[in-house]
């Protein structure tokens, strides 16, 4: 029994964090909200690092590792509010053999992130999963609160059948749960980012002659955020392990991870906004980039109630 990432996994996570700090600063996230074409530099850097190959089998030049190696890295993409569809690609598509293209998917819900930027569309059609080339589908762009989500609704063009990847419900279910898992990890990363940003801000900001962070109400808001993050993290880690080991509790565990990660991002986001005050309520400050991503991901890949209901079902009630 040992709970936590091993040294290699931690080293990979640390490296990803360093890389994203350089390759995906808030300015990149901000730009993704308005750019015609998504800047692929951070994506290429992650690919270069091998992130897209983690779940790829060794015999097709992948790293042949499992979710316990990938999920800590995905958490870092949450911390950076990376706009690219890393979850849909590295966690959902790659293990299905789609390779390392940039993949958008509707498996987590009808709103497809980065749909117009994708090399491949992975669509949930008639119970199975099929891939489509961009010119085989119609896009219906959707204005999102978080513009860096670059959302669209997508449907195959009349007559386009795509390429069948699988129609095995078990495989589709696993792919779905990998998406849930990755989204949960990103939410924890976002919560960390918002908490850290806020701790720095309230420490430096003074009102009433003292540091804002010395007020008990501010301390308690941020302690609550820390608390929620502290307990969501292990839930995500366990869900990664359950997925990697094909545990029978996988569905329950990824739903629990998503639910607690949603709570953590919600508590941290509220605390961050409230403790920043009006400064955080402007688009000139970076906080909103993280807040809006957290709001979006909280509802993507299954809303909070959906996951609680899945856990209840697993409890036999």
């Amino acid at each position: 029994m040992r709970f936590g990432w091993d040294e290699d996994q931690q080293a990979f996570q640390d490296a990803a964090r360093d890389l994203l700090a350089r390759a995906c600063p808030p300015a990149v996230v901000r730009a993704a909200g308005s750019a015609e074409v998504l800047d692929r530099a951070p994506w290429d850097a992650l690919a270069e690092m091998g992130v897209l190959a983690i779940l790829q089998a060794e015999d097709v030049d992948g790293l042949g590792l499992d979710e316990c190696s990938l999920v800590p890295v995905v958490l870092e993409t949450g911390r950076a509010a990376l706009p690219h569809p890393i979850v849909e690609t590295a966690l959902v598509a790659v293990p299905l053999g789609v390779g390392s293209a940039l993949v958008a998917s509707d498996l987590g819900g009808p709103l497809v992130a980065c749909a117009g930027d994708a090399d491949v569309l992975l669509l949930h059609v008639g119970g199975g999963l099929r891939t489509f080339a961009p010119d085989e589908v119609d896009f219906d762009p959707v204005p999102a609160v978080d513009r860096a989500r670059r959302l669209a609704r997508v449907r195959p063009k009349p007559g386009a059948a795509g390429a069948l990847l699988t129609d095995d419900p078990a495989v589709v279910g696993l792919a779905h749960d990998r998406g849930v898992l990755g989204t949960a990890a990103q939410l924890v990363g976002l919560a960390h980012a918002m908490l850290d940003m806020t701790v720095a801000y309230v420490t430096e900001r003074h009102q009433f002659g003292v540091s804002v962070g010395s007020f008990q109400a501010v301390k308690h808001h941020l302690a609550d955020a820390r608390l929620a993050i502290e307990f969501a993290g292990p839930a995500v880690a366990r869900a990664a392990w359950s997925t990697a080991t094909e545990a029978p509790t996988r569905a329950r565990d990824v739903s629990m991870a998503k639910a607690l990660a949603t709570d953590a991002a919600d508590v941290a986001g509220r605390a961050a906004l409230q403790c920043h005050g009006a400064i955080g309520y402007t688009v000139e400050h970076d906080l909103h980039l993280f807040l809006k991503r957290a709001w979006a991901l909280s509802r993507a890949w299954g809303v909070r109630a959906f996951h609680a209901d899945r856990v209840a079902a697993a409890l036999g009630i």
């Binding site: 978080d146 409230q274 688009v283 807040l291």
Partner: protein, 380 residues
Amino acid sequence: MDLTWSTEEEAFRAEARSWLEANVPRDLPSGDTAEGFALHREWERTLFADRWAVVSWAEEHGGRAASLWDWLLFEEEYYRAGGPQRVTQNGIFLLAPSIYEFGTPEQRDGILPRMAAADDLWCQGWSEPNAGSDLASVASKARRVDGGWVLDGQKTWTTRGAFCTHLFGLFRTDPESARHKGLTYLLVPLDTPGVTVRGFGRLDGDEGFAEVFFEDAFLADEAVPGGVVLGEVGGGWGVAMATAGSERGLTLRSPGRFLVTAERVAGLYGRRDFTDAALRRRVADAWMKAEAYQLQTLRTVTRLAGGDKAGAEASLMKLWWSELDVELHELALDIIGADAEVEGPWSKGWQFALSGPIYAGTNEIQRNIAAERLLGLPRK
């Protein structure tokens, strides 16, 4: 206890309702953008033309001398008819009560009608980069010179500042003073030379905020009718607190607004093709809170009509409506489900609601006020 409306009040309500049904514009864009603001200004002028802009004001200022009860009825009908936000609100709901309380007859007669007519559009100049929650640390200065004041400093987070014509705010007129003392409440036309305004975006994407810079700006004593000082020189803090009371309490957030929102949330739930006991109960809870806010307002108006003054209870009002507004919108988004991240009136309203616990004094400060002034707990 008598919760019935008189025949006259019902007649007033009916008149308001039929006028609103005929006149309320549909689908105005947000008033917190430049083009939206212009359209809203037209709407405010329509209201004023038929004397619906400020029903509780004196007739000579553009009102109907209506009672607070009638004002409540009007507000309820206004929101029920889908009336849009009032871009004049910082003038008519915040500044105006302070002008009635502290202004000279010349100020009242000179300022109020133009405000009601949306000829002059007022924004609030409280916050500064280093004076947010801590309003008493205001550093913008006004120096007395012959025939006026010279202003220096900066205000920020000024709602709709980029579209308004006038600003009311606190300035330090005694350079030796600290904290609450030595501040003066000034009325400043934004076209005063030396004043520059830069709009910037709010969380919800609208250009709703502005920074206002004062650089050696000469504000002539008669730049507004009756003079630019509201109340006494050096007595600005007391006037500002009266204005803040209006912002927190009765006038800015009429219960009609939340009741109508609660009913819309119930409608949103009712139109779904699923039942969910948890969501249904949350709808009931949110509606009860909106209704309780209405009842509390009736109690407050009864008290004011009996001669009482609004007190620190305004802090409780502010806590209630601001947290209710978040709850209502969050609930709506939970009913909408996965599509909630799409831009739309509910997601936009939610983002706006999140500012409620911050502006007009953060809710942390309101809870301090409630504990200290209503419960008598020690300040330190």
